[in-house]
């Protein structure tokens, strides 16, 4: 009798354990199915969810994007305030990496390394990654920077206290303190333009179509096919920022 009871309870336990194990397994496995580029999608797929693509293979380093951005968005002219800028990477045959971005690329670039020493060279435009899990939004102590419902990281300049914690938190160096307004300033993805049906200033002036603005919810859209047809990467993926700026032909040297 007692023996039988033990057996029964053991059987029950095994059943329960199996059920729990199964739950656990699906619980662990399921979220991974949803992770695309380490970002999850917002709840409403009918609304736009802005993302951005940059094709390094197409960029010729003319710096028109950085220039147009300053003119469109009232960014100070001085060479240490940028919402977007272009970097020239030169990887030499000896393995060393040379990076430069004189005035953000607005005045163009010169390649001073002789041809014989160059292993490869390319331009990398940089801007806010409009991260879905933004470290800057996380860090803002007062809620003066936020992820808008359509996935753009914006600043409330009438509410920012200017503590600069978000500048420290951004891994990509995309924020600066506006010297006249004394609040933080950053790329808004030309929110005033894209919400009126226009494209961003940088996309407008890019002569080689290296920059793509797009809606990540639009499966017919340009950005979607760009990501589908190229091997895209984000910057610093190990930081798990949920970056929505996708680069084609991104080299490992780029940081």
């Amino acid at each position: 009798m007692g023996n039988c009871r033990v057996k029964q309870s053991r059987r029950k336990f095994i059943k329960a354990a199996a059920a729990a194990g199964g739950l656990l397994a699906t619980g662990i496995v399921n979220p991974f199915n949803a992770v695309i580029f380490a970002t999850e999608r917002p709840e409403d797929p009918t609304k736009p969810w802005w993302g951005y693509g940059i094709d390094i293979e197409k960029c010729i380093g003319c710096g028109r994007c950085a220039n147009a951005c300053k003119l469109e968005n009232d960014v100070p002219k001085e060479p240490f305030y940028f919402r977007t800028w272009v970097e020239q990477y030169t990887i030499k045959n000896d393995g060393s990496v040379k990076v430069e971005s004189p005035n953000g690329g607005i005045n163009g670039f010169k390649q001073t390394v002789p041809e014989a020493d160059i292993f490869k060279a390319f331009f990398v435009p940089k801007m806010c990654n409009h991260c879905h899990k933004s470290p800057c939004v996380q860090a803002c102590p007062v809620g003066a920077t936020y992820d808008s419902p359509d996935g753009v990281v914006l600043v409330d300049e009438s509410y920012c206290i200017g503590c600069r914690y978000c500048v420290q938190a951004c891994p990509y160096g995309c924020r600066y303190i506006h010297p006249e307004k004394n609040v933080v300033d950053k790329c808004t993805l030309c929110y005033h333009r894209i919400s009126k049906g226009k494209t961003t200033a940088c996309v407008e002036v890019c002569p080689t179509h290296a920059r793509i603005l797009g809606d990540l919810n639009d499966q017919e859209g340009e950005l979607y096919s760009f990501m589908k047809n190229h091997n895209c990467l984000v910057l610093k993926p190990h930081l798990n920022t949920g970056s929505k700026l996708y680069y084609n032909a991104l080299s490992a040297e780029v940081r």
Binding site: F80, P141, G143, A144, G162, C163, P179
Partner: protein, 399 residues
């Protein structure tokens, strides 16, 4: 602003390698070095005071009130460098009205208020209430009126009520110890939680900040106790002094071990950021890191205080040694804060280069204002010692 541009153009010529263009303007300067330094002094001084009260280290009695008042004097100033550094100081209230729950910085206002209102002010009030009632009767005029206001009208000094003072005061001290840990461990978390910055982002940061806080706070009380005794021409209680120095020595060992562990861990793991951090400590930070923080601020005091644990020279020599050691430790911890705050911003997050930082003399971020923020707490302390002199406390009648 023109001046700022001029400064930045000057810095532009100092850049080594490549930095993101926005990184040239170093965001947190001398004022933010002072912030963890001052809060650290507060937390450390308070923990020394609670040693006497909670852990019953009776030899420390002569420094108990002194340590508390020191903590208060520095705590009152602790927010000033922060607020004056803001781009919009008048919006500072937002951190209390709409604190962002995910931000490590947002709860600072609450941690600060808790520590000031619930811990320090209350503990001092309970400790001094009976004396203030007595002083209010003895003194005349203005000072008597201040004491009357400070007692908040609780004038009962019957043994039963005084016993309550002691009981609740003890309870607050017990609450205060975790609060002091919270205050400074939390300041470490502000830096340690920034994953973008490999020099800051370590789980050790709150612990290191806490122990360095205790080291600096104990050294400060050691120094202030000697200075106050000298000014008052009173004989120093050498037993108390020896005990404080002993604690300083022990906690300095712990602090040094923890920081060493952190660095060894970095060196051994040698992650992506290792090369740039290695260049950082051997280049721009060499003087402040190896010479000021480690050699002068840690190794020398460790050796000297260590020797004193085995060999006791005569009193005067010991006093000189304690004075020099405490000042060296205070200097070393200042540069520890410097190396964290400034050092963390000197290298580019691209790991390809360095920007530069030069202290400016004038301006709200300048050297003069920063020195003021260090001197003002001493003036407040002098006032507090005049108002609430620990040496004039009336001993309680034996129960």
């Amino acid at each position: 602003m023109e001046q700022h541009y001029q400064y930045l153009y000057e810095m532009l010529s100092q850049v080594q390698g490549f930095i993101y263009p926005n990184e040239l303007d170093l965001q947190w300067g001398l004022l933010i070095v002072l912030y963890p330094y001052i809060t650290g002094l507060v937390a450390g001084a308070f923990i020394l005071a609670s040693l006497e009260r909670v852990f019953n280290v009776k030899v420390l009695k002569p420094t108990y009130e002194l340590a508390l008042l020191t903590a208060l004097a520095f705590l009152l100033v602790a927010t000033m460098p922060l607020v004056s550094h803001l781009g919009h100081p008048l919006r500072a209230y937002e951190i209390l009205s709409t604190p962002h729950s995910t931000s490590a910085m947002a709860i600072f206002g609450f941690v600060y208020l808790w520590y000031l209102m619930v811990v320090l002010l209350l503990e001092i009030w309970f400790d001094y209430r009976r004396d203030m009632v007595i002083w209010a009767r003895q003194e005349k005029g203005f000072k008597a009126r201040i004491y009357k206001i400070l007692t908040l009208g609780v004038n009962d000094i019957s043994p039963k009520t005084v016993k309550w003072d002691d009981k609740i005061g003890y309870f607050i001290t017990v609450v205060g110890i975790p609060s002091a840990f919270l205050l400074h461990g939390y300041v470490g978390f502000i830096f340690g939680s920034i994953k973008a910055n490999p020099w800051w982002s370590t789980v050790m940061m709150p612990v290191i900040f806490l122990f360095s806080a205790m080291v600096s706070g104990i050294a400060l009380v050691l120094f202030i106790y000697m200075a106050v005794s000298y000014i008052r021409k009173q004989k120093i209680d050498m037993k108390a002094l020896d005990t404080i120095a002993k604690y300083l020595f022990y906690i300095l060992i712990l602090d040094f071990t923890l920081e060493g562990l952190d660095q060894i861990h970095r060196i051994y793991e040698a992650e992506e950021s290792f090369e740039i951090l290695s260049l950082l400590v051997h280049g721009p930070l060499f003087l402040t890191f190896f010479i000021f923080q480690i050699f002068l601020g840690t190794i020398i005091p460790l050796i000297v205080l260590g020797i004193l644990q085995f060999y006791k020279p005569r009193e005067f020599t010991r006093r000189v040694i304690y004075l020099v050691s405490s000042l060296l430790v205070l200097l070393g911890i200042f540069f520890m804060r410097w190396n964290v705050v400034i050092g963390g911003q000197l290298f580019s997050k691209s790991f390809y280069g360095f920007t530069d930082y030069k202290i400016r003399i004038a301006g709200s971020e300048g050297l003069l204002w920063s020195m003021a923020w260090i001197i003002i707490p001493f003036i407040i302390l002098a006032f507090l010692l005049w108002l609430l002199p620990p040496w004039k406390k009336v001993p309680a009648e034996p129960a």
